[in-house]
Symmetry: C2
Subunit: 342 residues, 2 copies
DNA sequence: TTGTACGCGTTATCAA
DNA sequence: TTGATAACGCGTACAA
């Protein structure tokens, strides 16, 4: 009932207190905490007991200040929250990352911000909050990454847009080959008027999947004009699909650059009474949960999103451990998964 | 090309360096950085210039160690990643939280972990990484919160399960009243055999929404046996719906405790050829994007999820600022949104 | 194997 | 208004 009681929290125990409790020096306690081999077993036992008794947990700020490392890494996502939460692709990547990190002592800091990535986020990063960074979903305009790389090890998910120096570390799939396999399937089942809903053309994944689309159609001697751009969201894809059908009402197949966008496209097709796959066959990209959660299972280009997250984290951890043998790029395989939509 | 170059990153500038650059003492630079009013304007200018020149950013560990605060708060979610990313409810809450935090100097640390919330997460929290914590989606078994509260200010999203002391701070809606409004609507439109798919019964939101369901039916003199429990996931709800329809094939209405679960239920109903709302009217809960993204718009109990996140963050920030006037609970309003499903 | 002593980069308390 | 100087809690040479 007394006001002010709220802030009357007991101070956390310190190394000093544990040392006193165990009757040794701070240094010895520190050694025990950090698992140094050169401590007498009996001392380890008594110190450990003291730690338990006091419920001691090392202070991270002090530890980080002294050791010059934080034992945590950041995942930087230059998108807004709704996009981040809306696309199952991100969920899969994050899962893979945390899975790898859970095997280590590192913790993850999620930095989702399109609004002002260069200021608040960069400040946070440069303030020594993390030892390294993972960057996914970056766009051509995101030049903050250059600054970042001069500060700490960085691993990209997806080929960086500024990969000129080829000194970047990244995990990716061959988006061109992936989309080619999907579009080729549409050709193989006899479709001749094929359209596409692309991702943003300021992102490698958007560009490359469009390139694959064009390449297949050119090889097959088909028209490549049925193209509409979207933004990797369901609503954006829905609008793009409407535009495309208005401009090219005769298409008999559609390659959509992500599962999430395909849900939007399929919604419009259903609304307009175009039967899938009979009237229009649809191939998507990702093989995320979105591919199977709708009324009609999507034929889609499967990429190992979760494994990519895992690989990114693994790469970064090895970088942080000064592993000299890590390869700069890790290109993972895609495969076409056949379901109902095509 | 030289190996080892990777780690040749320039050291971050320190207060000391800025002081030398500006020709003043560390203390003065510190004052400028922290916006102290008692520094000569001309000195402020020259120090600021030096800071710019050196691209200085204060080291957080050192600052945190000295000031005994971190300027960051945690959002603790005792669920696994898939659940967290799968439910739009969480997205909305996180959005609200970040929105409030963006107006402040605090940053957010997301801690999502059902696997081992008491060990790694609690350790992280107790290591002084954050000044306060937000807890959402907590279950009866989550007794780690007691420890947490003895360490730092905590604000809950949803009435805490151990709210005996009534000393907790939380933001919530009246789940009983909310669900009552939804179920009453089903009664009002003439439905007489009403079932429900509940949330987990170890969570207040699950329990209370079930209580509201029972209360309305009892008031109306209707049977309350058509109840199946689920876990706030689409697939869990789908399975529960199948069980319910097998046991009570005669139901003409269904109250589902969340929008996400309703997507699962609606899928099963469609699959089984039960027309909605004609054969079975459906009322859901949340009014998240999931309520309008499917083929049939959901009639649902709307709760201000984003605003709740905002309010939680606001409450915590005021607690951290030693605001004595903050109320312990903030109960926000719900409203029934009528769409096609009922 | 253990303890002493210094340094990590800031904040905060004094004097000046 | 400014500048020494002592914390803050921990890691780690170095010495014992």
């Amino acid at each position: 009932m007394t006001s002010g009681v709220r802030n009357a929290r007991p101070p956390q125990p310190t190394l000093e207190m544990v040392a006193a409790e165990a009757g040794v020096s701070r240094a010895t306690v520190s050694r025990v905490v950090n698992g140094s081999p050169k401590v007498r077993p009996e001392v380890v036992v008594s110190v450990t007991a003291a730690i338990e008794r006091l419920n001691y947990v090392p202070n991270r700020a002090a530890r980080s200040l002294a050791s010059r490392q934080t034992q945590s890494v950041a995942l930087v996502v230059p998108e807004d929250m709704t996009k981040f939460f809306g696309d199952p692709y991100f969920a899969a990547v994050v899962q893979g990352i945390t899975q790898r990190l859970d095997e280590s002592d590192y913790t993850l800091n999620l930095l989702v911000a399109s609004t002002d990535p260069r200021h608040k986020t960069m400040r946070y990063l440069r303030a020594g909050n993390v030892d390294g960074a993972l960057v996914i979903s970056h766009h051509t305009g995101d030049n903050f990454v250059a600054d970042l790389e001069s500060t700490m090890p960085v691993v990209f998910g997806g080929r960086p847009t500024n990969d000129s120096g080829a000194n970047n570390y990244f995990v990716d799939v061959d988006n061109i080959a992936g989309s080619m396999s999907g579009v080729q399937h549409l050709v193989d089942i006899g479709r001749r008027r094929i359209g596409t809903i692309t991702g943003p053309v300021d992102m490698p994944a958007g560009i490359d999947r469009l390139t694959g689309f064009r390449r297949v159609l050119e090889n097959a001697g088909l028209a490549t004009d049925a193209v509409e751009h979207a933004d990797f969201t369901a609503s954006g894809a829905a609008a793009a699909t409407r535009r495309l059908l208005e401009r090219c009402p005769d298409i008999d197949a559609l390659f959509v650059a992500s599962d999430l966008m395909a849900t939007g496209a399929l919604g419009v097709l259903a609304e307009l009474g175009r039967a899938v796959p009979r009237d229009i066959a649809v191939v998507a990209y990702d093989d995320s949960p979105a591919a199977t959660s709708g009324p009609i299972g999507m034929t889609t280009v499967s990429q190992p999103s979760k494994e990519m997250g895992f690989a990114m984290a693994d790469l970064l951890l090895r970088l942080l451990a000064d592993d000299e043998t890590v390869p700069h790029r890790n290109i993972m395989p895609t495969s076409l998964v056949l379901r109902e939509s095509a």
